[in-house]
Symmetry: C2
Subunit: 438 residues, 2 copies
């Protein structure tokens, strides 16, 4: 029985309990949200070390970090280091997008080390296996794809990205309207190429019931991928993208009917003024399914800083109702991220998600911020570090400044190089309370 | 004659021409904007190496970088390095907030090296001079303050931050309502302390006409500082902040009447959902005066990453109509920025401003982004670097990857470690055009 089937019978599962406790929300409220499909609790029956988390309407925003090898850089230890960096920085989910090395072994190793929700994109493995035989993705046999999906399900993958909406009709609309940047989703490009070369419908769509059967068996949550997401601002919210969202909405209904949890993925690259509309569109067309957005980045001009442009878009998307943010790292558009990039990406997304939680007025969302304000007034540096999203960064910065003061024969405890004796906080605190200035 | 007096007579000054050319806007439109006070062109008659820039309604967003010494770290070479970092990263304005070393010499040296708009906060110098005599800011003589302001004007400072709105009435409201973080503006804290200790009105308010006379003589633009800006989310948009904005609006009118250009400063720390309201409030209360905002940062929990939280708030503010963004660096709340921090801060603010320019539909704002989309489809790395906000970051990342490929005996030209042969862009380009896959 899947989580969705269980909650529909009114049951409170252990997974549900754990997820509700984590967000400090009422478990019966979460049960009703999951039963309606407006929240998901991805939890493969085989992911035994999972610390469950809920994603959806009215819940704190969750963060995903993508890691994984490439054909030219495939080292399991390096990916394990990225996994640790992601977990340490506070990611709620991790996706293994590996395309190099022994994919099966890498995946199993990472899942074994991962208490966070674990996701994959199975079609990558199909492309890699074909490639090693000197064949192209256009030669993919649908049974091969479904076999790989079942393998991922058996390995304990909690959610899979499947680009079921890259159907012939959507691709035709893309070709007719034209695009600046074609298709930038790898899965989307694979399936569009397959559909065009074979003049057949996308097997993830035509055999969607087979997909649902696998997911139901292992309780894998579907992440309905936006294979036609825009790859630059100019392509945002075009006909192909919206067409695909309509199809994904229909597939959400079918997943729910089959007892399978589903969320929907979104762009990508998007001007600030289109973000809210995209969130509302997804929520309406997909009947409230959780919305999982990549970025969105709000300018194409920031390679090297796309975690920042992604945080801007992510904050706006989450404020408008997006539930799950896929991070963007400083390495985006340049290469694979290092563990340090992973950390930067997760923290940037957490800033975006937290800012949105505050703006949406989630209960308790601002408590830590208010405590930080008090710690700053008290000039309590250790408390500021404790409260920070990245305590290490604060402590490291403090240590450098304290050492400089010690070297200069000054009191290291009062180390604040910003203002020294012209500290506004101290002056104001004394003046407003009628005390003499120090 | 000031720029404001000149444009009111319908004159097109060289300063105005240069500023219009820089933004590719019609010079007579800019003249009318400046004449109405809805845009400013800060240009001290003594800043001979200035490359003028306009700030205001409907113009591309401009970026300011704060630099300056502290009592414990005062090295003119280091500040010159920060200035170069800010200019190199694309800052339109730089403020020297020095409080350590020979302030006059540092300021003159920096202005001599600075073609960007140059700003200061004169009251800092008063506090430093008093401090060196073992006296407190509460002992400030108003004539001392006005003397320092005149010195800054003589040195060629284009705009000065003056906290004229920290009046007794505003401070009383702050005390009555109470705050989590008191006052975090240094100038604001100085003047609140002075007002309370002396039981007299803020001299920048009571002798505002003297201030206007100095500004008119040297054509210094007023940046009416928000000395009571919130220092944490909890204090945002409180009565003291709004009271001060009302007063600043009245002072804008008086500046305009005196032929002096004026802009208004804004917060600071602010939840996402209050940013648009704050911009609209300023624009209404201050009769369209350009709005110069610091950040705003949208969570208090991100020390070490406040350039990111500031970019989120800055993008929203600028989209809503803020005209001038004061950067926030990763060192904010931790210490003085290094030149590397300065670079990060300027780029983060440029991302925010540019994203807003696109969202506001400014003519041509998206051209470079569209060119980037094309360069990505063409996998033209050098073109991507040229178009990037930070070309160096792209080239450095490419160089590392090309070296790795060369070491591995691979073709360095095709260096993209992200996807290798599973490149969505290449596959899509070929498939959508009916070509065989490589």
């Amino acid at each position: 029985m899947t989580q969705l089937e269980a909650v529909r019978e009114g049951r409170i599962t252990d997974v549900l309990k754990a997820a509700a406790a984590r967000d400090a929300v009422d478990v019966s409220r979460l049960r009703d949200l999951v039963a309606s499909g407006r929240a998901v609790v991805p939890a493969n029956v085989g992911h035994t070390n999972l610390a469950p988390v809920a994603i959806g309407e009215g819940l704190p925003v969750k963060i995903n970090a993508n890691i994984g090898t490439s054909p030219e850089r495939a080292c399991v230890e390096e990916e394990a280091a990225k996994l640790r960096a992601a977990l340490d920085a506070g990611a709620h989910a991790v996706m293994d997008l590996s395309t190099g090395g022994d994919l099966h072994a890498i995946r199993r190793e990472l899942i074994a080390q991962c208490p966070a929700v674990f996701g994959t994109v199975p079609i990558y493995e199909v492309a890699v296996e074909l490639g090693r035989q000197g064949r192209h993705i256009t030669e993919m046999e649908p049974d091969h794809l479904f076999g790989v999906i079942e393998r991922h399900a058996q390995d304990g993958v909690d959610f899979i990205t499947v680009h079921c909406g890259v159907v012939r009709d959507s691709v035709a609309r893309l070709q007719a309207e034209g695009r600046t940047c074609d298709i930038v989703s790898r899965g989307g490009a694979f399936l569009a190429a397959w559909v065009l070369a074979n003049e057949q419908e996308n097997p993830l769509y035509s055999r969607y019931d087979d997909l649902l059967e696998i997911c139901r068996q292992y309780d894998v949550t579907l992440s309905l991928g936006d294979g036609l997401r825009p790859g630059c601002l100019a392509d945002a919210t075009d006909r192909a993208q919206v067409q695909e969202t309509i199809v994904l909405g229909e597939l959400v209904d079918r997943a729910r009917a089959a007892g399978v949890q589903a969320m929907v993925e979104g762009p990508g690259h998007m001007p600030l003024d289109q973000i809210e509309a995209n969130v509302r569109l997804e929520k309406r067309l997909c009947h409230g399914a959780p919305f999982y957005v990549l970025g969105p980045i709000v300018t194409d001009l920031a390679p090297g800083y796309d975690h920042i442009s992604g945080a801007i878009g992510g904050a706006l998307a989450a404020w408008a109702g997006a539930d799950f943010l896929c991070y963007v790292t400083p390495a985006e558009h340049l290469g694979l991220p290092t563990p340090a990039d992973v950390r930067q990406g997760v923290i940037a997304s957490r800033i975006a998600g937290h800012a949105a939680d505050i703006a949406r007025g989630l209960p308790g969302a601002r408590e830590q911020d208010d405590a930080m304000g008090k710690a700053r007034r008290a000039r309590d540096w250790e408390r500021q570090a404790e409260l920070a999203l990245d305590p290490e960064a604060v402590r490291a910065s403090r240590a450098v400044r304290e050492a400089l003061r010690r070297d200069a024969g000054q009191d290291p405890e009062d180390a604040c190089s910003m203002c020294g004796r012209f500290c506004s906080v101290r002056i104001a605190a004394q003046a407003l309370r009628g005390e003499a200035l120090e």
